[in-house]
């Protein structure tokens, strides 16, 4: 199925979880935060959150800024 991650379309397997997506993107060891369809999904819920077609995911981290 197709989902949108950080504004770009991405092909993922059906029923992938957020944890699965994080590992597909090789972000497993990074300090990140995730928003799914405009709702924050706490880290503790990544493993049980199953994605569906056309979901919109934002994955962010901290970078330099003033």
């Amino acid at each position: 199925m197709q989902i949108q991650v950080n504004g770009e379309m991405l092909q993922v397997q059906d029923d992938i979880t957020l944890t699965g997506l994080i590992s597909q993107l090789e972000l497993g060891d990074k300090r990140i935060a995730i928003e799914l369809n405009l709702e924050i999904i706490p880290r503790s819920e990544h493993a049980e959150t199953v994605l569906k077609e056309a979901d919109r995911v934002e994955i962010v981290h901290a970078i330099g800024g003033g």
């Binding site: 993107l25 990140i32 981290h61 330099g64 003033g66």
Partner: protein, 263 residues
């Protein structure tokens, strides 16, 4: 030293340093780290961005270098041009920081000026405060807007000295003075300071602290400028506490006029 018994208190937390610095525009993470150390800053701002932006996958993350156990991390909403995006960014930041809820709210008006959009700043501040955030708010130097933001529950008011990254100093000190007269929360000059003397001016005026990024990162030698800013902030604060001498129109001799060998 007087400044050691003169903490800056923001949202109930006590800080020794009155210099807050940003982490943008440095050559690399190592320069960022050394400059922050030289500045003595305890509160350090970061931006929140998509993971595919602004970093090589192999590089360590900023928060592995500027660690939350050593610094108070202040995520900002830079790059947000409406209240909704700013609120979303703050919520992501809180998740990123494991529930830490101190944020720097900035909602910008346009790319050219990066001037605060005060209408959306007020909207976002209201939502964020109600959602439990401790909001340090970047705003224009309009005293009425500052009062409004304070009454909504912002924990610090941060008027610009001049436009972000301009290095033009404090263009309207009179407005900053009016804001400080009325404010019961800390007032920080955020944006505009270009060099050490301008940081000292802000502190001599009685500002509680100064937040800067470009003045340090944009200096030819950022680490040396970070050290200069640390001293300027401390000197300015001590001068404010000491109370400057009155200005006089004419000379007043420092040496006694009696007993000279003349006449």
């Amino acid at each position: 030293m007087s400044h050691q018994n003169d903490p800056l208190i923001i949202a109930g937390q006590s800080y020794n340093s009155r210099l807050l610095i940003g982490t943008g525009k440095y050559k690399n993470l190592e320069e960022t780290r050394i400059a922050i150390e030289a500045s003595g800053a305890e509160i350090v701002t970061v931006a929140v961005r998509r993971t595919n932006i602004g970093q090589n996958p192999d590089e360590p993350n900023l928060l592995d270098i500027i660690t939350p156990d050593k610094y108070t991390i202040l995520p900002n909403t830079a790059g947000c041009f409406n209240a909704e995006d700013a609120v979303r960014t703050c919520k992501l930041a809180r998740e990123l920081m494991n529930g830490h809820d101190l944020v720097k709210l900035e909602v910008l008006g346009d790319q050219k000026t990066l001037y605060p959009n005060v209408v959306d700043t007020i909207k976002a501040a209201d939502k964020l405060v109600q959602d439990g955030f401790k909001v340090m708010v970047y705003t224009s130097d309009d005293p009425i807007v500052a009062q409004e933001l304070e009454s909504l529950g912002c924990v610090a008011i941060m008027p610009l000295g001049s436009m972000i990254g301009s290095g033009l100093g404090i263009l309207n000190p009179h407005n900053i003075n009016v804001i400080m007269e009325d404010a019961k929360v800390p007032v920080l000059v955020d944006a505009g300071v270009g060099t050490a003397s301008e940081a000292a001016v802000a502190m001599e005026m009685g500002c509680d602290a100064v937040l800067m990024n470009s003045a340090i990162a944009g200096a030819r030698n950022p680490v040396l400028m970070a050290s200069a800013m640390r001293k300027a902030i401390e000197a300015g604060r001590e001068a404010f506490l000491a109370g400057r001498m009155p200005r006089k129109r004419y000379a007043s001799a420092s040496s006694p006029m009696d007993g000279t060998i003349i006449g």
